[in-house]
Each structure stands twice: as C-alpha cells, then as structure tokens.
C-alpha cells in the first residue's frame, strides 16, 4: 500500500520524484487549500454508507482506519449511468457529461491499481473519450491504509503503488510521508510549501520501515494469486463450478463493487412524449446477468450460471493476462465483504487449490 519508489510523470520528463514530510496538524489546511485544483471528493458517510462523494467540510472525510467504501472509485470515472449522445431527426450529437475538475483524497493503493486496469481498457486505442475526460479531470491523492480481514492486496501484489497518483500520503501518526507522483502533485505542494518539510531523516525511514512491517503483519487473509492462472486453466471442467453455480443468485453485486469490472450496456431512451428525440445512455452491466451474452433470436452463449461465474473468475484470476499482462483482481476484498452467498476470490481460489468445495 505504500510507494517504495515513485516513477516520474511521463508527461513531464524533467520532473524529479520527491518524498516530503507533512505534520498531521497541517492536513486540514492542506485539504482546504486544494479547492483551487478542483472540487474535493473523498470517502464520506452519506445515509449511513461510506462512499466517494463531494466533500463539503474537510472534517467529514474518513482517512484513517480500515474503512472501505461500498463502491470503488471507478464510479467517478466510469459512472453507473450517463448520456453518451442526444438524438433527434438530425442524428446523434455527442453529449459529453460536464466533468468539473476534481481532487479525490483518501484513495487506497488497491483503488489506484484498479484505475490503472480501467485505463488499460478505456485508454487503449480507440480511446474512450468519455472515460478520458473524466480521468483527465480527476486528481488522485492516495492515502495509506491498514488491512481488515477481507483485504487481499498483499496476495495480489497491489499493496504498493508506483504510479497512478498525484500525491500519496503514508500515515505515520504524527506526520505523513508524502510521495509526489506527478507535476500536478508537485503544484499542490508548491501551493502550500509551508506545510511540507524536505528533510526526510534516517529516523523517518526507520519509522516507515516499522510501519510497513506492522501493516504487513496485519494481513490475516491470503490466497494463492500467482498459481491461479494455471489452476483456472486446469479446473475449467471441475465440479467446483457447479457447486458455486448452485449457490449463485446472479445478483451482480460482485461486478458492481469490483474496481476492475468495466462492462456496460448501451440503451436508447426516448424523451417523454416524443417519438424522435431522446438520449443514448451508457449504464453498468454485469456478466452475472442472464442476458449478458444473449443475442437477438434467442441464442444465449452463456445461459448457465456456471459459465458466467467462470467468465468472471477467468477475467479476475487469469485471462486479463493475455490482453494486459496480469489478472485484473486488485485484492480490495469487496467481493469477500459483499457477496450474499459467499462466492468470492477467496472461496473460489481456495476451492480451486484444494479441489474441494467449502465445507
């Protein structure tokens, strides 16, 4: 979850990476100062649920402890629904949602890795202009965190970030170590130079090493992530899938809460009282839904729940590899916390490893 070293912003080759210190008492002032870089977003409690939302008062941002938002950060760059086009008798007019500049604070390493996986999909040629705009207007200020019993980022190797943030704060209690990850992050520091101290001392490094050791020792759950591609392949016809398929209720919650699920549907919606004008919407879809692979005429390429579960786990634990170099699971633990019938990367990977269903 902590940057061991940062890579310079590729768009700014002359920029050199820096690690700074900031006393904890300055955090509030620093967050308030970010206004000029965009609207402040972060984890806040709304209606009893912790979620990424606009921050009205910096005191309400939840930055410490083992908190996890219900939905991942993807909802800010790949919204649950938005208008792609307006249409009328003259055709389709692109309707880019207005994306104000935003600064999101409190972003955990798993979330940053999740965004990088989404970048792999949406920013690969042809670039998705809707995602690109949302992403370009979103500054990321990462924060270190401590694992709860569902966190698997140590297993997936996503507990550390080397890229994908503008600033990253590691909480060493009375002060923060602050990694500067981009020229924008550099500007945020310059704006508030009085809060930052350039002298990272030997004792700070020791504090940091101790903090990492403490954090590493807090992981109580792990799984054999590295072995999963092979095991997935070998277990394709295993009865294990039938066991999970029996339990799965195809609710799609695993896909909604997953930071790397990007599937969407596109639907046209006519304006009320109009037969010719309306909007073309993009909405989240889920490969757990029965009609996900249904084609006109009624043939369903994945009519069985077992096939749909296999598809999801192939993407998370194996197949993203072929396209983008690694499986897409970032170990956030949301499927572990969310699935109502206990089907998640942990139970599935254990069943695959032991070749027996959970007792």
């Amino acid at each position: 979850m902590t940057p061991v070293h940062t890579t310079p912003d590729t768009q700014d080759p002359v920029f050199t990476v820096r690690i700074l210190k900031m006393k904890s008492e300055f955090l509030k002032g620093f967050l308030e100062s970010l206004e000029k870089f965009g609207k402040l977003y972060g984890p806040v409690v709304r209606n009893g649920v912790l979620k990424y939302d606009e921050v009205h008062d910096v005191d309400e941002v939840v930055l410490t402890g083992d908190w996890h938002t219900l939905l991942p950060l993807k909802k800010l760059v790949h919204p649950t629904r938005f208008d792609m086009f307006r249409f009328d008798n003259d055709g389709f007019t692109t309707d880019y949602p207005v994306v104000e500049k935003r600064v999101v604070v409190g972003v955990h390493p798993c979330e940053i890795h999740g965004l990088l996986r989404l970048d792999d999909v949406f920013l690969q040629d042809p670039v998705d202009p809707y995602y690109e705009r949302a992403r370009a207007n979103t500054a990321i200020i990462g924060f270190s965190c401590l694992p709860d019993e569902a966190c698997l980022c140590k297993s997936t190797g996503t507990d550390i970030v080397e890229e994908g943030f503008d600033l990253f704060f590691v909480d060493l209690e009375d002060y923060y170590l602050v990694w500067v990850g981009s020229s924008l992050g550099h500007d945020m520091v310059l704006e508030n130079e009085e809060y930052f101290d350039e002298d990272v001392l030997h004792e700070d490094i020791e504090r940091y090493i101790q903090w990492r050791a403490k954090r590493d020792s807090m992981f109580v759950t792990s799984f054999e992530f590295k072995n999963m591609p092979d095991l997935m392949e070998l277990s394709y016809n295993s009865d294990i899938w039938d066991y999970f398929a029996e339990k799965c209720i195809s609710c799609g919650q695993c896909t909604m809460v997953c930071p790397t699920c990007n599937c969407y549907n596109v639907v046209d919606i006519l304006d009320v009282n109009s037969e010719t004008t309306g909007r073309r919407e993009r909405v989240w879809d889920s490969c757990m839904f029965v009609d996900y692979s249904l084609v006109a005429g009624g043939h369903n390429f994945r009519g069985s729940r077992a096939d749909r579960l296999k598809l999801w786990y192939t993407h998370k634990l194996r197949a993203f590899g072929g396209e983008y170099g690694k499986p897409s699971c970032v170990g956030c633990g949301r499927c572990v916390r969310t699935c109502p019938v206990d089907i998640n990367v942990l139970t599935v990977s254990r069943a695959l490893l032991q070749q027996e269903v959970p007792s």
């Binding site: 086009f85 007019t93 006519l270 993407h315 197949a319």
Partner: protein, 284 residues
C-alpha cells in the same frame, strides 16, 4: 452531427441512406445503404468479414455483418433477419430513410493467407450473409486465388438466400457452386442436392490440403460437422476460418459483452481459425 469536438468519438454514428431494399425470404431483407456524406461513402473501406454497428435512434444499436465486397465501393450491403426490436424497427424503414452506422470493426478474413490457394466457402443458412462478402471479393480478384468452391446449405428451397444471384453464379466457369437443402419436400423444381451442408463435400474434387483455405459461417451447431469434413480433407487447422456471432454494445473492446476467454470477438474476431478454437474455450 460530426463537429470538431466529436470527431474523435469512436461511438459517433454517422447517417446513411437506405438506397434500395428488397425481401430475400420471409423475415430476411436485403439493404443497400450509403453514407449521406459523399466523401465518406467513397472513402469507407473495409475487409471482407468485418462488421458495422447500426443504429435506429430510440431503438438501439447492434452489430451487423457487411455482406458486400470492398471491391465494389460506395454502397454497403446488409442482409438482415427480423429477430428483435432493432430489426423490427429497421424493417419499418423505407428506401431513402436514414439509419446510422459506425465502423468497420473486427479483423475480417485473412485474405493474405488465402491468396494463391484454393478456396472452400461453406455457408449454412444466414451464415451466407458475411460469406457473400468474401465470395464476391474472390470473384472480383479472381486471378489472385486458386479454384473456388462455394458450398451453401439451407433448410428448404424456400429458405435459400440470394437465390437468383447464386444460381446465376453457376453460369460462371471460374467457380464451383454446390447447393443443398435439408429437405426438398414437395418443391418439384429443386434440382440441386438434398441433405445437410456436409453432404456436399463428397462432390469436391481432389484437393491439395496445404494449398486450401476454408471459410465457414453458419448456425453454432454446424461448425463441428463442417470442421470434421475439412479435417478429413487434411486442411491445416489455421487455414480453416470461421466468423462468429456475439452480443456487442461497443464494437471496440470496451463494453465486455463479446469476451471469449481473454479475447474480444469485436477486435480479435469475429474471424477466428479452428486453431484458435483449440486454444481458447467457448469460441464454438
């Protein structure tokens, strides 16, 4: 409409006019469409085997195979079966009406690999629609290919698509056309073969398998049997091409629906070889 701001939006549908349409058989219609923008109509290039995304505003967008050949530019031809909401709406359209198109998408047939070889085209039912593109492409570039065999099967004589067109092709010396129907029934005028499409393989002459390339499209159930026949002829596995159907919402590898293992049908396909199917599950 296209503006500087939206020129880079890969999801932007462009207006195209239906210049002609007629019914092929019951619930199957042939459409000729042409981009309203003249320059766009003439510059739109594609490979046989590629597809487009077609929109009817207010109803939606779906992928359709291109049935024309790029060797006859200017007009796109589509063969469409009425099976759902979007195609219902499309069948309401008249000549001169506007529809919206973006593309072309997908890889298309491996034409470089096919050049200089004997070509076997095997179509079942609606599968003839994408294969019509490569069929005419080969005919229009006849000297680049070896012998051409066109095997087409339908359920009964009433369900043969492009019947007049394909029967006229029999007049040509440079193509061997073999047509069959599962059941002739009481169609006394049917003088072609009877039986499933694989029964036509017995009429093929001696082939040099290494110098043979097959392209196949049909209902999912057909592939297994056709491939068995091609393997009996010892056609190399990577010289058997198939074009596949999947649900798609974007055409450019973003929406996820057409994923197969770690491949996307829309960008890595829709044309796959039999060799591919041995390495990636769920293809056929």
């Amino acid at each position: 409409m296209q503006t500087a701001d939206t020129a880079d939006n890969p999801f932007q549908p462009e207006p195209a006019r239906i210049v002609r349409h007629y019914n092929l058989i019951k619930d199957h219609r042939f459409f000729q469409v042409r981009f309203v923008d003249m320059a766009r109509a003439m510059s739109f290039t594609y490979n046989p085997g590629q597809f487009i995304m077609l929109s009817v505003p207010g109803v939606g967008e779906a992928p359709f195979s291109i049935s024309s050949t790029p060797s006859r530019p200017g007009i796109l031809e589509l063969g469409i079966r009425k099976v759902g909401r979007l195609t219902d709406a499309l069948f309401q359209k008249k000549d001169n009406d506007i529809v919206y198109i973006r593309g072309p998408y997908g890889n298309g047939f491996k034409i470089d690999q096919m050049r200089g070889k004997d070509i076997i085209i095997v179509a079942g039912g609606l599968g003839v629609i994408p294969l019509r593109s490569i069929l005419y492409y080969v005919l229009d570039n006849r000297d680049q290919f070896g012998r051409l065999f066109f095997l087409y099967g339908a359920r009964n004589p009433d369900e043969i698509l492009f019947k007049d067109e394909f029967f006229q092709l029999k007049e040509r010396e440079d193509i061997e056309c073999l047509y069959t129907v599962d059941r002739v029934g009481d169609h006394k005028d049917w003088s072609e073969h009877e039986g499933v499409v694989t029964t036509l393989f017995q009429y093929l002459p001696e082939m040099d398998p290494k110098r043979t390339n097959a392209v196949v499209c049909g209902p999912p159930v057909m592939y297994k049997f056709v491939i068995q026949e091609l393997l009996k002829l010892e056609v190399p596995k990577n010289q058997i091409q198939m074009t596949l159907e999947r649900r798609m919402k974007c055409g450019v590898g973003k929406c996820g629906h057409c994923v197969l293992d770690h491949l996307y049908t829309c960008i890595d396909g829709p044309v796959f070889t039999y060799w591919d199917t041995l390495h990636f599950r769920e293809l056929i």
